[in-house]
């Protein structure tokens, strides 16, 4: 979590447990879940991706969830067909699994989220939601097709939605009363771990560990020679699996901001980078990326780790002073947004959770657009409805990236 963010994952989960304890539990079978519901109304949970974030992600499934399966591509030789798996497809076949926590590398997040929902499971998926933009739309479609619950594994927006000042900003932006004259500028400077999560450009092939299914680890991405730096947390440094520190930390930083400025259903239309020419496989240094929405809102991501600092616009918020007196009255009469629903509540009530697929997809899109601009080295225009780059074929190829069979969206 970003330093200074008061809502840690652990505090959020505790808060949710407290809220759920006061909530009437509806039996699982009534809600359309799989199989018969035990008297204790326990959900069957599975963890797919058992690295550093695994247990924390599983905790996010909430109370009354029994861990019935763990799965990781590094469990070759340990599989028992009961608790330990190396192939997520075998886990999803189980009828006693209701919920799936996904903590693999992001190159697998969308595919396993979709597959889990196709198998009737609800999903809590680690951030970043996706590796490229089209994956996010596919997750939204799967959520809608199967009426499943999807929650992204970052929760700052819940704290944001309880802050009175942020709620006011949200209401002003959601109202549309600013038209295309929004002058707000949000700058996020530093804390994006750019150098920390860069990739090696001179990695030499190493023998594949016997316990690791490297082909499955690479999954939809190109099958590269094995190197330990491409595995474990350092996978973050490669376009094949993630998008550097920007992708890794970005959803924590910008998801609350996206909520604050009421942008859960749209994306920027202009993206401009300041960065050196990108490496084809390894994430590396960049300076800043400026993004503008159609209504004028500007977001700036600044690494503070390379190049000259961003000096175009100062940070500026949104206030009632930006509106006419008549419009201020309209805001005063607007109801506050509904409280965001936690994942434990959502799986019981079937209400949309606060970090639902569309919102998470739009936030991940911010990160991907920024990385597209960095990777191509040029200003891009984006159509947030068609979800396509406009007038730039090479950049547009990175919006929907081909996958290795048998994996596809």
């Amino acid at each position: 979590m970003r330093k200074g963010n008061k809502l840690t994952r652990r505090r959020f989960i505790k808060g949710s447990i407290g809220a759920v304890a006061a909530f009437t539990i509806v039996p699982r079978r009534v809600l359309g879940g799989q199989g018969n519901t035990p008297p204790s109304e326990t959900f069957g949970g599975a963890l797919i991706g058992c690295g550093g974030r695994g247990n924390g992600t599983f905790e996010g499934l909430g109370p009354n969830v029994e861990k019935r399966a763990i799965c990781d591509v590094k469990f070759i030789g340990r599989e028992d067909g009961k608790m330990v798996y190396s192939d997520f497809r075998r886990v999803l076949e189980r009828k006693d699994i209701d919920l799936v926590a996904i903590a693999t590398h992001p190159g697998w997040h969308a595919l396993i989220s979709i597959a889990a929902m196709e198998a009737g499971k609800d999903v809590l998926c680690e951030k970043p939601m996706t590796r490229f933009i089209a994956e996010g739309r596919a997750v939204v479609e799967a959520q809608n097709r199967y009426k499943r619950i999807f929650q992204i594994g970052t929760f700052g927006r819940f704290d944001e939605s309880r802050n009175r000042d942020r709620v006011l900003t949200h209401k002003i932006m959601a109202s549309g009363l600013l038209g295309t004259n929004c002058k707000a500028v949000h700058r996020a400077s530093g804390g994006l771990k750019v150098a920390e999560w860069s990739g090696m450009v001179n990695a030499q092939p190493q023998p594949i560990p016997k316990s690791l299914n490297w082909d499955m680890y690479c999954g939809p991405a190109p099958l590269r020679p094995y190197h330990p730096h491409r595995f474990g947390g350092t996978h973050r440094g490669y376009w094949d699996y993630e998008g550097g520190g920007l992708s890794d930390m970005g959803q924590h930083h910008f998801d609350p901001i996206q909520w604050r400025f009421a942008k859960d259903h749209t994306s920027p239309i202009e993206i401009e980078p300041y960065a050196p020419p990108a490496h084809p496989e390894a994430c590396a240094m960049w300076g800043w990326v400026e993004m503008k929405y159609a209504d004028g809102l500007t977001l700036v991501f600044e690494s503070q780790e390379w190049g000259k600092p961003y000096d175009r616009k100062d940070e500026r918020g949104v206030s009632l002073d930006d509106l006419s007196e008549e419009d201020r009255k309209k805001i005063a009469e607007m109801p506050d947004p509904e409280p965001l629903v936690s994942f434990p509540d959502a799986i019981r009530t079937r209400k949309q959770p606060g970090g639902h697929a569309e919102a998470a997809h739009r936030c991940a899109t911010l990160l991907h657009l920024a990385n597209l601009a960095i990777r191509t080295g040029r200003k891009l225009k984006y159509d947030p409805v068609k979800e396509q780059i406009i007038g730039d074929e090479e950049a547009n190829r990175l919006v929907n990236q081909p996958m290795r069979a048998p994996w596809h969206l």
């Binding site: 799989q34 009737g120 750019v194 860069s198 090696m200 020419p277 084809p280 390894a282 590396a284 048998p406």
Partner: protein, 280 residues
């Protein structure tokens, strides 16, 4: 007079050195890199071929700078927004595929995926039956899209193993209606991955004549294959709805509504009911 090859070597040497961790994080001079790349560009096709000649297989030498320089050159050409230059670059990459180590070929194909167009689909098509290169070749074809279907379709009769799976799936990605007959055969293949890829491909293409086949597979299979065949059926219904074929789509939904009586598949029944209601 300076030897052009010496000049190219000097220009490639202007690319950054990896730092202590093997990364491009220290002393990254954007202006220096871009000036060197512009200089490489001035040398035209000869310089592109010269950089390719510097590429080696992983573990067989140091080509870090040449590897980066080739990609940076592609980025530079795209910034110039001159399609003739881009095509020349792609054609040069494609012309250098033969007689190179497989890993070097794979890298050239990766660059073609980023920067190439229909002008090089034939060269990519020729790689589709190569067990080591079929995946990058198919990914490049799909990225280029124009002209891809014909290459994939023509390679299918000769393809085996991983190559066959790759082609079957990507015929679905490009939604090639002319492959429906072959895909229906592949939906009955002895290999489960190929069956699943073919059923998905038929669903994604939106072939109304495949509905009974997909539903039959979905009804008779178990586990992951059943999940995927059911998904293919739902996808087909959505494609049919989008094409205005409401009756055909409704037939799929009704079948799933009426046959998914196991409590474990209630969510499929509910999905079908919901879709029927939405279709009106």
């Amino acid at each position: 007079m300076a030897n052009p090859s010496d000049n190219l070597a000097d220009l490639v040497n202007q690319m950054p050195d990896p730092d202590q961790r093997g990364m491009y994080c220290t002393d990254i001079d954007k202006e220096k890199i871009e000036a060197a790349i512009a200089g490489i560009h001035q040398g035209g096709r000869k310089n592109i071929k010269g950089i390719i000649d510097m590429l080696v297989e992983p573990g067989k030498g140091d080509d870090v700078k040449a590897h980066y320089a080739l990609h940076a050159l592609g980025l530079h050409l795209c910034k110039l927004d001159d399609d003739k230059l881009r095509r020349q670059f792609a054609k040069t990459l494609a012309s250098q595929l033969a007689d190179r180590p497989k890993a070097v070929q794979a890298y050239l194909v990766q660059e073609i995926q980023a920067f190439g167009g229909k002008e090089v689909v034939a060269e990519l098509g020729a790689l589709l039956t190569d067990e080591d290169l079929c995946e990058p070749a198919a990914m490049a074809l799909v990225a280029i899209r124009e002209g891809a279907a014909e290459q994939l379709r023509n390679a299918l009769p000769k393809a085996k193993g991983k190559s066959r799976l790759t082609i079957v799936q990507n015929l679905g990605v490009v939604r090639d209606k002319d492959s429906v007959a072959e895909l229906k055969k592949a939906a009955k293949d002895e290999d489960q991955d190929i069956r699943i890829a073919a059923t998905w491909a038929l669903g994604n293409i939106g072939d109304a004549g495949s509905a009974d086949l997909l539903l039959d597979i979905a009804d008779k299979s178990q586990g992951w294959e059943r999940i995927q065949a059911t998904k293919a059926s739902l996808l087909l219904a959505e494609r049919l709805l989008a094409a205005g074929r409401k009756t055909d789509a409704a037939a799929i939904y009704k079948h799933l509504r009426d046959t998914r009586s196991d409590p474990a598949e209630k969510y499929i029944r509910d999905a079908a009911l919901s879709a029927l209601a939405a279709a009106g």
